[in-house]
């Protein structure tokens, strides 16, 4: 097991290097000069531009800029944003917010998705199953920004149950509404996934054996059916968690969540290379870690899966 983990961690190194290189290259190749854009509609003097380029190393060739960036990473320095804030500080401030939001969203979609999926699977073809299908089809087909705007208007502005946007400091109660909105997207998927998995497991021999042994339904459903149905769902949840962690740009924008998605979007628009690359690097790291955790979780859920040395 330890050997497996070590191997996976070592594999992550070239992946990380490769992705940062690609991202750096793409940001570098992004047309337009961010320094010129700093001046808005006014045309800056070339001498001032020259000075600023030097300050941000924009006057160096691509490879030199990239190596300087790599060097920075190793000493824990991701550079500074245009507003003079160290990027590490921005990272330290935005990721916890997005983590809270993602965790909350995962919590909601897990409870609702697995719960509804389980019942629908156990009552295949019945009224509950068909209505769950209808609801998930609707949720899948409505774009998330529509759901977000409608939820904001109805629950926050008209009913006043929540704050319309997330207040400073992003307290947990303000994050409930955006988390619910985010959860609706994956709820449908999780629900369908759980349902089909439950149906499949219910038909397995070991379930029938358990039933004929005289075990109560109350024991069969959670221990035998649900646990064995969860493997695809866990994979999905983990991947979804990764997606949520790298920022739900649209939803964060609508609810003004000071998280990763909103900050990254703004950095891209402003052409702040250090910020963009640092964020993406951390995102890649999160993805790698989450994927490793998923693989390890398989072994816990299904004893048949074992990782050889």
């Amino acid at each position: 097991m330890a050997g497996y983990i070590l191997r996976r961690v070592l594999q992550a190194v070239p992946v990380l290097l490769g992705t940062t290189f690609l991202i750096y290259f793409m940001v570098f190749a992004m047309p337009g000069d961010p320094i010129v854009a700093l001046f808005g509609d006014k045309t800056p003097n070339p001498a001032v531009i020259e000075q600023l380029r030097e300050r941000y190393h924009f006057d160096q060739p691509f490879i030199v800029q990239y190596l300087l960036f790599l060097k920075g990473i190793f000493v824990g320095d991701f550079g500074i944003s245009f507003s003079g804030q160290p990027v590490t500080e921005i990272l330290a401030k935005t990721f916890p917010v997005t983590l809270r939001l993602a965790a909350l969203a995962i919590f909601f979609e897990m409870i609702a998705g697995i719960g509804v999926g389980l019942i629908a699977g156990l009552r295949k073809g019945k009224f509950f199953d068909s209505s769950a299908l209808a609801v998930s089809l609707i949720l899948i087909s409505v774009p998330v920004f529509v759901i977000a705007f409608v939820a904001q208007l109805v629950f926050a502005i008209n009913l006043g149950w929540f704050r319309a946007t997330v207040g400073p400091g992003a307290p947990l109660q303000d994050l409930i509404l955006p988390a619910l909105v985010l959860a609706t997207i994956s709820f449908a998927q999780i629900q369908r996934l759980t349902r089909s998995s439950v149906i499949e497991t219910s038909g397995q021999d070991f379930v029938r054996t358990a039933a004929s042994k005289g075990l109560s339904r109350r024991r069969i459903v959670p221990v035998h059916i649900l646990r064995n149905s969860l493997i695809p769902v866990v994979t999905y949840l983990a991947v979804d968690f990764g997606t949520l962690m790298v920022g739900a740009t649209v939803t964060e924008g609508i609810f003004n969540v000071p998280g990763v998605g909103r900050t990254l979007y703004q950095a891209i628009i402003r052409g702040e290379r250090p910020t963009v690359v640092a964020f993406v690097t951390v995102m890649v790291l999160i993805y790698l870690v989450v994927n490793l955790l998923v693989d390890l979780l398989y072994a816990v859920l299904d004893p048949r899966i074992r990782y050889a040395k």
């Binding site: 854009a37 700093l38 804030q85 964060e252 609508i254």
Partner: protein
Amino acid sequence: MRTKRFGVAAIALAAAGALILSGCSTGGGGDEAPKGDATAIITTDGTEPQNPLIPTNTNEVGGGKILDEIFAGLVYYDAKGAPVNDMAESIESDDATTYTIKVKADQKFTNGEPVTAESFVKAWNYGAALDNAQLSSYFFESIKGFSYDVNVPELEGLKVVDDLTFTVELNQPESDFPLRLGYSAFYPLPEAAWEDIAAFGENPIGNGPYKLAEEGAWEHNEKISLVKNDDYTGGRKPANGGLDIIFYATQEAAYADLQGGNLDVLTAIPSGALGTYEDEFGDRSVNQAAAVFQSFTIPARLPHFSGEEGNLRRQAISMAINRDEITDVIFSGTRTPAHDFTSPVIDGYSEDLEGSEVLDYNPDEAKKLWAEADAIAPWDGTFKIAYNADGGHQGWVDAVSNSIKNVLGIDASGDPYPTFAEARTKITDRSIQTAFRTGWQADYPALYNFLGPLYGTGAGSNDGDYSNPEFDQLLSDGLAETDLDAANKNFQDAQVILFKDLPAIPLWYATVNGAWSETVENVEFGWNSVPLYNEVTKTAAE
């Protein structure tokens, strides 16, 4: 996602008033006791400052809005844009070239340091020096000794006479120089700034009506908390306890917060709500003219757009645009069709200058002029207007193109660039081969600010490389003129030339759109689209 990318340009408070400022009273009018709670904190919308909070390095709305509240310059601008002495005791000049500035005694920064002549001179020198690469360095261009080629640590034209007096010598007469002094680039800085300017930019120490609530009050990407500065004695004394400026990524989110009761004053309405916000908020909303001029520029280097043929085509295109209909349909009346090259809020504005009929929709005349141009050299190709697609410009660019296409019977279309940076880079390095969107938000309230930097030969923001000696002459005559009305006459005459040459096609002026909640009163928007926050009162929270 912000729809007003022109806002990135420098903003400034403005004035339209008298030129000789020494006579200005402290302003403020009668001191009626404010009805609201003097300790209430007003919440309002803003955007994360793009740069550290250093006056000479801030040229966009997000940071400018904060600086204007925590610093006090020599003058400030009242609601109408007239300059009122703030830190200045007097600003005097006989020849519009050398100014003697006296600073009021006993003014303090919030760390206790006195505001002296030195506070201004050092800050200006810092802003002007090439090595400091300050974004607003061009504001010091006209001071003697300024250079873009070598680093000048101390400008020759700035001399400290005594503790509270200094003189400014300009390269040439510029009678609107005093009008500029309310702009943030001209704010004073305390000695504390020079110990560590980077740290200062994070926790600035000012001398204005407000100050940062505490060390670290600027919570990046979230908000900045300002509280009343009791040491401030100028005319902008706050009637409230402080300001919380919340940073929003989108105007939609800010609007939702206003509707949801979490925001007191909103300074921009999202495009989706422009048609309805006045019904929803009634007399708690505003739609008034702003000092923002929008246009598109046709560089003379494009084929068919130089000389006699070019002038005919420019005039034909201008008359082919139905500005009334477009401002009505696309902007729900939140733009006002242009009648000149400046803005209605500026002193000296006139809507019927000679030649301004070229801005009226006149399809028959447009067709006629276009045909005359075709007689000189036949038209070929497509007329394109470049714009940045990240700024919400597509709607009007398409409408303008269609208007031109329908009237002149030529191919016309928009030419989108994905980002603002890309469009500006192409415009700046002159590699753009089409007409392009241009906009100007005044730095200070003077006609010259809309003309000199944009159309003067070789001027900084003359993106179309327009040059007309007659025009240049009228501008410098106007600057040398110490009488404001006479100066404005020159600037108006200069515009008559622009109407013939049309280096840029004027489209419309932007308006300020804002709204506020039931809990606040006395919300008045200044000429620069920012509310006069110090006057806002809030009833005590329940």
